[in-house]
């Protein structure tokens, strides 16, 4: 059961870390649809 709980914790950890890493590569979906990305110029 320890393995099961640790896998669930790992899944949550990945969920928290993923957007931070994606932002580093400017791959964030939030970034792609932000007003900064879609701007008037």
């Amino acid at each position: 059961m320890k393995v099961m709980v640790s896998a669930f914790v790992a899944a949550l950890l990945i969920a928290f870390v993923a957007p931070v890493i994606l932002n580093q590569f400017e791959w964030s979906s939030a970034e792609l649809t932000s007003s900064e990305y879609v701007r008037l110029d």
Binding site: M1, V3, M4, S6, A7, F8, A10, A11, L12, I14, A15, F16, A18, P19, W27, S29, L32, T33, Y37, V38, R39, L40, D41
Partner: protein
């Protein structure tokens, strides 16, 4: 007599009051500054109720020969009317220049959204939700008719290692993230219809926001789990003749027999390939939705299908249509996966005695292993005896 004279005088005065300009003519105006259109003098003269020769505009109906060419600045529309142009915008048959920069901004009108919304709110929710309820009801009936699959002769008390820690970690990583994805996906898809009327808009807004965040981000754990389990279990899930025997015996569940199987029986192989194929597909469409307009999938897929099957699926899709197809596909495949996984959860928990221990502890009773995976037990025992003898 006096009344007649008085009446005539009143009439003459009234005529002078209401028609002061009868006797006045506006001098001819120079309208070169306005290109022939009326000038300020014309307007002032009209206000003074002076007589104006209206022919300068009543006869000025335009001369097509004097028009700017189509390509010139402020050129005419040629043979196209405003209605023609609006129709071109409506059907995305123009190539506009837009001030807004970003993906999909040059599609000014895309009317597929209504059809997508109807499909999403109608058949997808109705059939998808019904499939989940149906599988739960069927499994409940099956449980009450068949009962739990017991270990024949009872437990031996001796256990054998069924799955290593890494295998169980991969399994729980994909299953934990899948359950989170399924629940948050259902909230996103159906919450507006079923939860918001009960919870209220404020509470549902918090739930929907949280669900979207978790769904978007825990998807990476699901994809990692998919990759891990694929690498670890692919070689054990290659179909062989033994699987056909297992399927013919109905897995022994109905007939109370124990068809031979190695590490994974045909039923488990079906679950494996269902998860791999549908999981890969739902991941691809999910990535397409995670990065809007960056990963269009359907135009090329439709083109590929048309090439093989000779179908006439649309191969020119707007960026919005790509997203709409991705969304419907993502939800449909996810429902199929949910149905398969609910059946898998049933047989792995309440449906079969001793099955959960395989993933829960990693150790299973040797009798359970012999009844459901006899050839695998023989392989393990042969390896162990070989190791001991060497």
């Amino acid at each position: 007599m006096n009344f007649r004279l008085f009446g005539a005088a009143i009439l003459a005065l009234a005529t002078l009051v209401f028609n002061p300009a009868w006797a006045q003519e506006v001098p001819s105006a120079d309208r070169t500054a306005t290109g022939g259109a009326q000038t300020l003098e014309d307007i002032l003269a009209r206000q003074k109720q002076m007589e104006i020769d209206e022919s300068f505009r009543s006869e000025n109906l335009g001369n097509p020969a004097n028009a700017q060419p189509i390509t010139g600045p402020l050129g005419t529309l040629g043979g196209r009317s405003d209605a023609d142009i609006w129709r071109a915008i409506r059907y995305d048959k123009i190539d506009p220049t837009t001030q807004a920069k970003g993906p999909a901004v040059d599609v000014l009108i895309q009317d597929g959204g209504v059809e997508w919304y109807k499909l999403r709110e109608g058949p997808v929710i109705t059939y998808g939700g019904s499939a989940i309820i149906a599988i739960i009801v069927l499994l409940a009936i099956f449980y009450f008719v068949r009962g739990k699959v017991k270990i024949e002769g009872g437990r031996s008390g001796v256990t054998i290692e069924r799955f290593k820690a890494m295998e169980r970690f991969g399994h729980w990583l994909i299953s934990g993230s899948f359950i989170a994805l399924a629940l948050t996906g259902l909230i996103t898809l159906m919450g507006r219809s079923f939860l918001m009327p009960v919870m209220g808009t404020g509470a549902f807004s918090v739930l929907a926001d949280g669900s979207k965040w978790l769904h978007d981000n825990i998807a990476w754990a699901f994809m990692l789990g998919l990759l891990l389990t694929c690498v670890m279990w692919l070689k054990h899930n290659i179909p062989n003749k033994l699987d056909w025997q297992w399927l013919k015996a109905g897995g022994g569940i109905v007939t109370n027999t124990h068809p031979s199987a190695r590490k994974f029986n045909a039923g488990q192989k079906i679950v494996f390939w269902t998860v791999m194929i549908l999981g890969f597909s739902v991941s691809l469409s999910g990535l397409s939705l995670l990065f809007p307009f960056q990963m269009p999938l359907f135009a090329e897929t439709f083109s590929f299908i048309n090439g093989i099957l000779g179908t006439d699926l649309p191969t020119t899709l707007t960026p919005q249509e790509e997203m709409q197809y991705a969304n419907i596909w993502h939800a449909s495949v996810a429902f199929l996966m949910m149905v398969a996984i609910i059946a898998h959860i049933y047989i792995g928990t309440i449906g079969m005695e001793g099955a959960f221990e395989a993933m829960g502890k990693g150790q299973v009773d040797i009798e359970w292993a012999r009844q459901h995976h006899d050839l695998w037990v023989e392989e393990i025992e042969a390896k162990q005896s070989k190791g001991e003898s060497s």
